[in-house]
């Protein structure tokens, strides 16, 4: 084994992601033994489909957290984007391209509003996003009267089913809209953060905003990009959710923002900026998904699933904090 690979492996073994992966594999092995249903293709595809919405939002939030900000207005952004795009499609007709363009464009505009408030008025991002959550959501319900849209265009309701293949005798699988958008979002976010100059700048700005500014980074433009990216992701996620639910319900998304926050921070992203990876976010999301799915397959009443999620969050963040402190103490001693 070359030395560089060995070093990379050693580094990975000490990382937050390694421990997450270990816990997930252990959990999966246990669940696989306990219930034959768990380790099936069917279950895997179902999980990916049902967690796509949270996953896409988590990727947007990850970028915001790395940049040193926070956004909790994304559920309201998603509600608005969903409503605008599908109301437009119903009224004037649309296709996949236009409906996504409208939803993501709406998200982009709302994200830009957030960034303007944060940057131009110098208001902390937590305050701005608490405020805009209420503004976007309040105005949406005020204008629409909170009415659901049940009749979606046929092509939208049917969705897509690509790369169909057969597995075993009876079942066939394919890539549906949820899995496609989730996959593309992961790819683009990974490329943005790891393979572009902008990604490095986002990390640097989150790690030390003053230093980044003095180095001559365009922090205004970077922040604009970050909050717009969150908005675009919220727009994409909103259509994925509407397609799965087969309706547009303006009141059901708001209130789910902390689920997304939980997935991202379980994945090791820091709320003080500069830290976080796409892999970590994927693993955090996987842990939550596997846990909830596993409990249901084990026959635990779904009334208790929140309790386990809470325990996992609490234990995970405590262990992480504790191990960090130990490492720091060891470094001081050495």
């Amino acid at each position: 084994m070359p030395d560089s690979l060995k070093a990379a492996l050693a580094r990975f073994r000490r990382s937050h992601e390694f421990w997450l992966l270990a816990v997930i594999l252990l959990l999966c092995a246990g669940l696989g033994v306990a219930n034959a249903q768990f380790l099936t293709m069917q279950n895997l595809f179902d999980l990916l489909t049902s967690y796509a919405f949270v996953g896409i939002l988590a990727l947007g939030l990850l970028v915001v957290l790395i940049a040193g900000g926070i956004d909790i207005s994304f559920t309201a952004t998603a509600s608005v984007a969903q409503y605008v795009a599908l109301a437009f499609a119903n009224a004037y007709g649309a296709n996949w391209f236009t409906v996504f363009a409208i939803a993501m464009g709406t998200g982009l505009a709302l994200g830009a509003i957030n960034a303007q408030f944060i940057q131009k008025l110098r208001i902390p991002s937590i305050i701005v996003s608490v405020a805009t959550l209420n503004i976007f959501y309040g105005l949406l319900i005020f204008v629409t009267g909170g009415k659901y849209i049940y009749s979606l265009p046929d092509w939208f309701a049917t969705g897509i089913f690509w790369f169909e293949f057969d597995w075993g005798k009876t079942s066939s699988y394919g890539v549906n809209l949820q899995i496609l958008v989730l996959g593309v979002s992961f790819l683009i976010t990974w490329l943005l953060l790891n393979r572009t100059n902008i990604g490095r700048q986002v990390y640097a700005m989150g790690g030390n905003p003053d230093a980044a500014q003095r180095l001559g980074f365009h922090t205004f433009r970077l922040n604009m990009l970050v909050y717009c990216y969150m908005g675009v992701m919220a727009g994409a996620a909103s259509l994925v959710q509407a397609q799965l639910a087969q309706s547009v319900a303006p009141t059901v998304l708001v209130g789910k923002e902390l689920d997304v926050v939980a997935a991202v921070v379980l994945g090791g992203a820091s709320l003080s900026g500069g830290v976080g990876t796409v892999l970590g976010t994927f693993l955090g999301l996987t842990l939550l998904a596997v846990l909830q799915n596993g409990l249901i397959l084990l026959g635990v009443s779904s009334y208790w699933s929140q309790l386990f999620v809470g325990l996992v969050i609490l234990i995970s963040v405590s262990v992480t904090a504790w191990s960090q402190r130990e490492r720091r103490a060891r470094r001081v001693r050495a």
Binding site: I123, I127, S301
Partner: protein, 335 residues
Amino acid sequence: MKQETSLSWLQRVGRSLGGGTIGTLTLLLVSLWVVFALVIGDRFFSASTLQSMAFQMPELGILSLAMMLALLSGGLNLSIIATANLTGLTIAFMLTRTVPGSEGIAWVGWQLVAIAAGFAVAGLIGLINGYVIAYLNVSPILATLGTMTLCKGVAIGLTRGNVISGFPDPIIFIGNGTIFGVPFALVVFALCAVPVAILLNATPFGAKVYLIGSNEKATRYSGVDTRAVLLRLYVYSSLLAGVAAVVMMARFNSANAAYGESYLLVTILAAVLGGVDPFGGFGKVGGLVLALAILQMISSAFNLLNLSQFLTLAIWGGILIAVAAVPHLRALLRR
């Protein structure tokens, strides 16, 4: 002595025209009051309007106090609503199972025991929060996100999402009764706000909380046991959520795992509107009370004008941004 107070009052008025959140908020409150008085007229001043305002404010007010304590130390307490609901359910469970039907000593005693049990639960959650935050160094937003989910999980698991209802009269009085026309819930709010204000402004503990919020490391190096202070702070925050639980269950005559969830972000909104720095160190109870009055006045006025409650939410958000932008705009003007 009198001279001095009037001078400081004058100074405050002077400052209110030139700066300070309290000043901005007072101006805002007065101008809103004038606008609504002109638009709505007599109905805005009717006793029933005032009373309904005074009935609605205390729940949000007490919860905002609980949030404010955590915010002052540079933290956050996302678990206040879940704590309140679990506390409410504990009290409701005890009340409906143990309190005998006929009035007597046992009747009074069991009600007190029920409330005490509720506060024990609230205190325990506060201890968990405080321990994890202060001694394990977990960031407050994560720790309380965990306890929030945990508490809600316990509450949903035990009740299966059902409501527990039907309480004895004294409990219902807490939420719905009046003393000389003043809602008792408002009295409860005052009984929380005044001690919290004294605790923060006139005790060493309060001074330490502000110091931790400004610079935790410097506070620790100057010999303050920051961990003990934080632990106590989160217990107080939780106990306040417990008080809110009693008011809330008394007003609805029922308890549930999911009551008041929309309050969570509104408490942050109210506290920050009231001048509490979300990064800690600054904020007064007086500012929070003004902010609550502003929010409640808008809500009641919109109600009288038959405008949607969702429009109220949007206006609340807009006002938060406007007030938060004032310091920066003022600095721009000065330049």
